[in-house]
Amino acid sequence: MSISLKNVTYTYMPKTPFEKTAIDTINLEIQRGEFVAIIGHTGSGKSTLVQHLNGILKPTQGTVTVDGVDLHDKKAAAKAARSKVGMVFQYPEHQLFEETIYADIAFGPKNLGLTEDEIDQRVKRAMNFVGLDFDQYAQRSPFQLSGGQMRRVAIAGVIALEPEYLILDEPSAGLDPRGRDEIFQEIVQLYQSSGITVILVSHNMEDVAKMATRLIVMNGGKVSLDGSPLEVFREPEKLKTAGVDVPPVTALLRLLKLRGLPIDDSLLTIDEAVATITTALGERKEC
């Protein structure tokens, strides 16, 4: 059970002077239950890559299969496979259109042809996941909300489809630090409570390093690194050429170790780092 890409290449506007190959012979396998973060510099092809995962873009070459079904078969199975993958685009709040928050979140489930009851339940669950109080918000207009709240409504609109794989393209772009933390917290909660597969696109390593079980670093339309966060951080040279930074915590620990402090430099959270640094400093005082 996985999303699998075989030799996928995509070219924008082929056979014109504007021709541009955005991703080049990508081979990937994303297993169910993973929390994958796709990281890369602007123009590295990460957004193009994820748009292949639910069949929005058709690869110029190669195939994309979800749970063994080719997304571009002309069969009902392909359509069903596509609907297993939910996609939250960049600035998803720009897609809101209904008069009430309830109606907007219900748009997706309605298109699935569900019963009123089922739709109602799904909207409630989705709003709960993104931390919007149903009684308070359901009947309000989405356009009266703040940017962060609008984004949550839009994400709820995708969650209400109850996909098995959830793709989020830069879900924190343009939010203040607090809004960013809240969105990420909700995503992690969703991941932990529902067993959904999450694929998160970002250009900021710090945001995703703590959450993801697997990091894929894109550079120039190719996968340059693929592995657990710790494995990926061991390749500072490749990260540098890809234009992404090691999170500051890891960078600090590495620097301290280089200067001779006996610490573990493979930690990702600030709390762990503080603990290891204080113990290391404590040991030194003793001697």
Partner: protein, 269 residues
């Protein structure tokens, strides 16, 4: 998807035609369009077709691109041929039912459709070889003399520039919203007209909102930079006629003179 449409159509290149002053190109296109209506004989049409073929060759625009610009209009062309073939009175060549095909009709149909094709090819050559910015610049300069009688040339050109500038942006936006709604199960392609019109709502509402937002942002950005219209404004790239452009005018003049000559001497071949 939508972004593959070549709107604004500029096809970058370094050919002679690309390098002509945009004003020269606009004037020549207008002259050509006017002169199309001088031609009546096969000889003059052959000359016009030859002229267009020459410009096309000089512009090094792939003919496939030109064919693409004709594609949306072939129904109109076909209709023109049909109407002329069946409605022109004259010597009947063929008859079925109440419809009759006349010799004059065939001739008229052929010439009219050629006229249309030449018109479209020439005007798309203009947009293929001239960037939208150069085009509006040229229009502003050409309209400048009319400012004395109250025509707001600079403002018109600015409006056009802004409109052109936002076509790709709005297309991209449309594309993005469409994808997002499709990812939520929206279906834009099936159902009858009413259902399809209804299915556009999730696309149009966000699109309008974003267009208004962008307009507002742009207005504020322009005001913040103290923009206040065209008076005393200088520009980075002044348009300048060079030898090439005068040669183009000369060439155009010779072409028109030959057409006029053909009209009065050769008559209807």
């Amino acid at each position: 998807m939508l972004t593959d449409i070549t709107l604004g159509q500029y096809f970058p290149g370094k050919s002679l035609i690309h390098q002509l002053d945009p004003r020269a190109k606009i004037i020549c296109v207008f002259l050509f369009i006017a002169s199309i209506f001088i031609g009546e004989s096969y000889a003059s049409y052959a000359l016009m077709a030859g002229f267009v073929a020459l410009v096309l060759a000089l512009s090094s625009i792939p003919p496939a691109m030109i064919a693409k610009s004709l594609k949306p209009l072939w129904i109109i062309i076909l209709l023109t041929v049909g109407i002329h073939v069946f409605t022109t009175p004259g010597r009947v060549v063929y008859e079925f039912g109440f419809l009759s095909v006349t010799e004059e009709g065939l001739r008229q149909g052929f010439l009219m459709s050629t006229r249309l094709v030449l018109l479209i090819v020439v005007s798309s050559l203009l947009t293929y070889t001239t960037s939208p910015i150069a085009l509006t610049d040229a229009i502003e300069r050409l309209l400048k003399p009319f400012e004395k009688v109250g025509l707001p040339a600079h403002e018109l050109a600015m409006m056009m520039t802004i409109a052109l500038r936002f076509i790709p942006t709005l297309l991209e936006e449309t594309d993005r919203i469409m994808k997002a709604q499709m990812a939520r199960g929206a279906d834009f392609a099936s159902g009858n007209i009413l259902r399809r019109a209804q299915s556009m709502i999730p696309l149009l509402v966000p699109l309008f909102i974003s267009a208004f937002r962008r307009a507002d942002e742009l207005a504020i950005a322009m005001e913040a930079r103290c923009y206040r219209g065209g008076e005393n404004r200088t520009r980075m790239k002044e348009l300048q006629h060079t030898g090439r452009d005068w040669a183009a005018y000369g060439f155009m003049l010779v072409f028109i003179l030959i057409l006029v000559y053909l009209k009065f001497t050769a008559g209807k071949l």
